[in-house]
């Protein structure tokens, strides 16, 4: 994407923070890379924040890492004050969590029965004739580097001394995902029909011809519902995940990701997502 904006783009990478020089005073800021390329508070016209702190600076003391993030956030905040930010800030979900978004989505789309439960409160209210999955709210790893992937569970087997995010399991042959770029929607689908159970530990292949997703056409009603949802959330970027329920063919809303990945949908640039993102940032 940086090449599309070249030579007017400045890319600041958190994980190689030590390559950059920064001067930041109450009157303004300047960032310079090793090539001498720079950007400053007078020349900046747009800012796009992309998974900036999604890596840990493992060799950096946490205090120093916090200092680094602080400065980057201040510079980003300056661009927000200038009204030149596109996309969503990295902490957008601090103000809009999963349950709040599900609530908004339920105005326009079907949503799965969902519950966050501490000490088991609310679990007995869940319809007993449904199947449930446990999901992670924050996608944080455990202390030994493990992740809670969405897993089918029996409610009676859950240790209520832990917090749980439980959701009704959706039987589906199709994943749907919709990338929102400004006023444009890019819906895609992926078949789950050949899935061998829900074992996610598939072999990762190192290929260049993978196209897991194909374009999907939203009907008028579903498109309208999605547009109303993003309007209510006051966003114009991000990715919505849905499924088509097997028995009813209804579109079921699952999640909105303010900074969800999107390149994977159109890796070979066949469907115009990158072009749309570039135009969106420029707009």
């Amino acid at each position: 994407m940086a090449r599309r904006f070249s030579p007017y783009c400045f890319r600041l990478n958190y994980d190689i923070w030590h390559d950059y020089s920064i001067e930041h005073t109450p009157k303004g800021w300047k960032i310079e890379d090793p090539t001498g390329r720079f950007i400053d508070s007078d020349s900046v016209t747009r800012a796009f924040w992309w998974k900036t702190f999604n890596v840990d600076l493992e060799s950096v003391d946490p205090m120093i890492a916090a200092e680094i993030r602080y400065t980057i956030r201040e510079i980003y905040a300056d661009t927000k004050h200038k009204g030149i930010v596109r996309g969503n800030p990295s902490d957008w979900h601090k103000n809009w969590g999963k349950t709040a978004i599900l609530n908004v989505a339920s105005r326009y789309l079907k949503v799965p029965t969902s519950l966050v439960s501490w000490k088991g409160l609310g679990i007995t209210k869940l319809p007993p004739d449904k199947v449930y999955v446990a999901k992670s709210l924050d996608s944080e790893l455990t202390a030994d580097g493990k992740a809670l992937f969405t897993t089918k569970v029996e409610l009676s087997q859950l240790d209520s001394s832990y917090p749980w995010f439980i959701q009704e399991y959706i039987e589906s042959d199709w994943d749907i995902t919709v990338q929102i770029v400004g006023k444009k929607l890019f819906p895609f689908q992926r078949s789950r029909k050949d899935l061998k159970g829900i074992d996610w530990r598939s072999e990762q292949s190192f290929r260049t011809d993978i196209e897991e997703w194909e374009p999907y056409s939203l009907n008028e009603r579903d498109e309208s519902s999605i547009r109303k949802l993003v309007s209510d959330l006051s966003v114009d970027f991000g990715r919505i995940d849905l499924m088509i329920e097997k028995t009813t063919n209804d579109l079921i809303f699952l999640e909105y990701n303010a900074n969800g990945q999107w390149v994977f949908l159109d890796y070979h640039e066949k469907y115009g997502i990158l072009d749309a993102v570039v135009e969106y940032i420029k707009s």
Binding site: A2, R11, H93, F149, D175, S202, S205, L254, Y267
Partner: protein, 70 residues
Amino acid sequence: MAIVPTLLTPLILSITPATINVPTPSYDHASQGANTVISQYQTTTITANGTQTFDFNGRPNDADSDKGRD
């Protein structure tokens, strides 16, 4: 003696993410991109109730992974 079944906890359900071994692309400041060819790998995994994307280390990589750390 009755056997008390172990109740499930989020930690028990958590598993080691799949990782892939690819050379870490090196960043080139001149082009502001990677200076090695990056081949695509399967970035999404079919899980129940959602689409999840992962980084090279198998770490979930969607919005909620962004750490505001305020």
